[in-house]
Symmetry: D2
Subunit: 294 residues, 4 copies
């Protein structure tokens, strides 16, 4: 199989490599010509056998929009576009409809695995028509870990379902990380704990909380036992927000995932206007001293 891959960043670069190791032929395009196989999307399209399969792996939002638009112009009826990026599921219907006007097929695919995917394989969640997914199956099989397909690949449902599942996956990820992190802070604050890294390490094999994230936590503490070189500023990439927005839209309580999202927001505040106000109120009613502003 020979397919095109647009976007050779942190994720796409490794995915090309993993696909090639599995014996697939990949033509990769990126705006960064140092990593690209071809000079343009036009050249990529020209290089592929028909019906063409093009995997898009670029940042969600405007960049994905632009790539889909260009593919809509350059691809032909019967070709297939797979959006493997982190697009919001609501975008998928729009992209699918745009491409369908020219008879181009569309599949959305959530991809998890991070920088370890090259080595371990990626977890894949696809949305779209069964026949389109069947066409792309050699790619899915190349990217996912070895072993039973159903342990690392799923056809979740119709268009958008793959990204929806990935969005929720990431929301869960927020909650898991926050839970471990709160536990870390509790242990780190307690003076009777004399082997903090060792405690997490000893959770890796027999306990209920063992997980891949725990393994990474142990690795992080091996590299920097007190996390002395790591700031407490945490970005969010959008999918946590979307998960909470979906919780709201569907009237579903999601307090743990939301707590994780808000903790990131807080981590980025130099100064909290809300807490200034609480301090001001305490001063007003109780005469409690306020601290000077930072």
């Amino acid at each position: 199989m020979h397919f095109g891959l647009i976007g050779l960043g942190r994720m796409g670069f490794n995915m090309r490599e993993r696909a090639r190791r599995a014996g697939l032929e990949v033509t990769g395009y990126d705006r960064n010509q140092d990593v690209a196989d071809v000079a343009s999307i036009e050249a990529l399209v020209a290089a592929l056998p028909t019906p063409r399969v093009v995997w898009v792996m670029v940042p969600a939002g405007e960049i994905t929009d632009a790539v889909v638009k260009e593919l809509c112009e350059k691809l032909s009826e019967g070709d297939l576009v797979i959006d493997g990026g982190n697009s919001r599921f609501t975008e998928d219907q729009r992209h699918a409809a745009e491409l369908a006007q020219k008879g181009i097929h569309f599949v959305d695919c959530g991809v998890s695995g991070g920088v370890w995917g090259l080595q371990n394989g990626y977890g894949l969640m696809a949305g779209g028509e069964a026949e389109d997914i069947e066409i792309a199956m050699p790619i899915f099989d190349a990217l996912r870990p070895e072993g039973e397909r159903a342990d690392s690949f799923v056809h979740v449902g119709g268009i958008g379902a793959g990204h929806y599942a990935k969005m929720v996956h990431n929301g869960i990820e927020y909650g898991l990380m926050q839970s471990y992190a709160e536990g870390y802070q509790l242990l780190a604050a307690k003076d009777i704990i004399t082997d903090l890294p060792g405690t997490f390490r000893a959770w890796q094999k027999g306990t209920v909380v063992r997980s891949w994230l725990l393994d990474l936590l142990v690795k992080a503490l091996e590299e920097d036992p007190g996390l002395d070189n790591i700031g407490d500023y945490v970005e969010d990439s959008g999918e946590g927000r979307w998960t909470v927005e979906e919780a709201i839209a569907n009237a579903i309580p999601a307090p743990a995932i939301t707590a994780a999202l808000f903790a990131r927001f807080e981590s980025r505040e130099d100064s909290s206007p809300a807490m200034k106000m609480v301090s001001a109120l305490r001063h007003q009613f109780g005469g409690h001293a306020t601290r000077p502003a930072k």
Copy 2:
């Protein structure tokens, strides 16, 4: 009526004044001799008519313990001690039992009103025996706002009930302040809002959220429209913690009050170990950049 008042700090000093304005005779004692009427608790006890009534208004915990212990030694059978401080309700049984061994009566009384109590009167919540509360009623009537007694005084229940009610009152207070503060931050962040202080001011008369705390919020913004001179570090005085501990002990969800408590904890962290860990984990799995530690 003539009663003793131990503790002439921010609260007690004003309470003595308010009681005197109401025509009561008050003998006040404080370790700070500049404000005290007598030089010692012994002198205070000697100055009071029997059966004596002594109102204790000192910091909860060890200081209240010590004062109760000294009163236990110096007072006589039939006297009455009222703990008007912010003692945890669990302490009241202990203090009552200690005093009861010598036939001294005990009432716990939650007092709310802050620095405005001198002018407005205090809200009072008492726990104990009906006959003891009846004895102290002239004091309660002097301290509370004018108007119907039931609008500002309540005999909540048995020993400890007054402090329990005050504890929950303060827990609610945490939640109310946090709610206003979150709304403040939302409005302050929105550029289409051009009159932020005016918005809060206009909520004071006709809206659902009008309250005394809102009036104080308006006052705070009049004094410092951007809260530029106020830091975002917020203390907690204990009763918020006890409220959440009671929620846990009684298996009652209290997410809003707890959110308010945790927001204060966060406000006091120079750096969050938990968020350092989340950042470390994101780096481990996704190669996301971390910030240098502060």
Copy 3:
């Protein structure tokens, strides 16, 4: 002054009455002809002096959209439409632009006060151009409580700012109600509290938590001391959701308001899929018994 009022439901009906008591002339229209003054919007438009002022007080969303559309057709250049309903602030720009195409002016106005507004007056938050707001000032003055204008009316900012302020107001309202409600549950669960309604009643005059909502809480307990006739199912009207969505959009932590929103979602679940899963997991790892499904 003579203005038109479209929508004579729980809010609009009382607002017409309050405006009339203040000496204004009001022509009201509602689909319910029992309460309407005229038979159609067309008739309402015909009845008003030019430039016309029409206050829209109908449910947000499709119904407001339809009314604005019809007004756009029937009104003339220089007329003014005021949306006093609970429209999302994002709708205001759209409505204003639609009307502006015909030279019709637009003001958005958040209105708070509930069923008590007829008697107490309404708190008002307006967004739009200063000259348009000036035109409508006699209406604002009629609807708001007596006393200083700035205590119950504010020109918050540009188009949408009035509804934005009202949205945040309602978000705060969610947090305030949740805080009182958590405190209520804590007090109700404690056996040493023997006078629960009396405790809330005694908070009304001197305490830090006194507020209009507390007065209503006292009234509710007077009517039904154990809330025995009231179910625990709580609707949400949209503005709480929008507030949390704005918190997310602006990366502002809003844990107390969000807790209040999620508590309502929970209150409406017959059975929680999430908690079924937690129970299933506990059974899987620990052999803990599950309960049969309801």
Copy 4:
């Protein structure tokens, strides 16, 4: 090595079996004579070689207190008691001091692994003196999974540190389960998801959220794809509460773990007094209809 094991319930029964399979000699006692090797603690003490090692695996609180008390009477100087149950870390100092009066040593050990421990081995976290832990090492090595000791056993710190680590472990566990459960509910509510169990199954190998709990979640859905036979009532065993209490005691925000705890409290309420109050308040200010009580 030959040691005594008191408590042969869900955990202890399997631990005896695992220790025996590893070649250790175990004398087990339980009040249930069907599973016990000896008829009394006295008989167990008599059966053991000196210095004796006795592992206590009974419910925390009164039962552990009683067993420790009896061991204190029946054991001799130089013997060692290991509390492997879920005692609160604050109990450990008390138990250690009680035993120390007779020269009996004490180690606390958190044990994780649930019903799968027999097969997989248990994660172990020990607190106490290094020499005492060395004595018990053959037991630890028998109970933990094969492989490197440090991946499943840790000497966390002094007396109580083992149970403290286990407490935090369980707090994290609450947060992890809640996070997966919220994600489950979000996916279950979305109609574009047509293969819900398959989605979780596909997360098992390549994704960031893969974990042992996820494997169990997949297993639960295999057994009952809609969780139709499982109620949404979730108990808590105490350690989640203690974790939040420690967060409060140390002024550490723990919003995700606390959300998980409160979700369990909510799951057990037939009717929420707090939400009845919110409904009552909405009725009071806005005339919103309330539902009849259940």
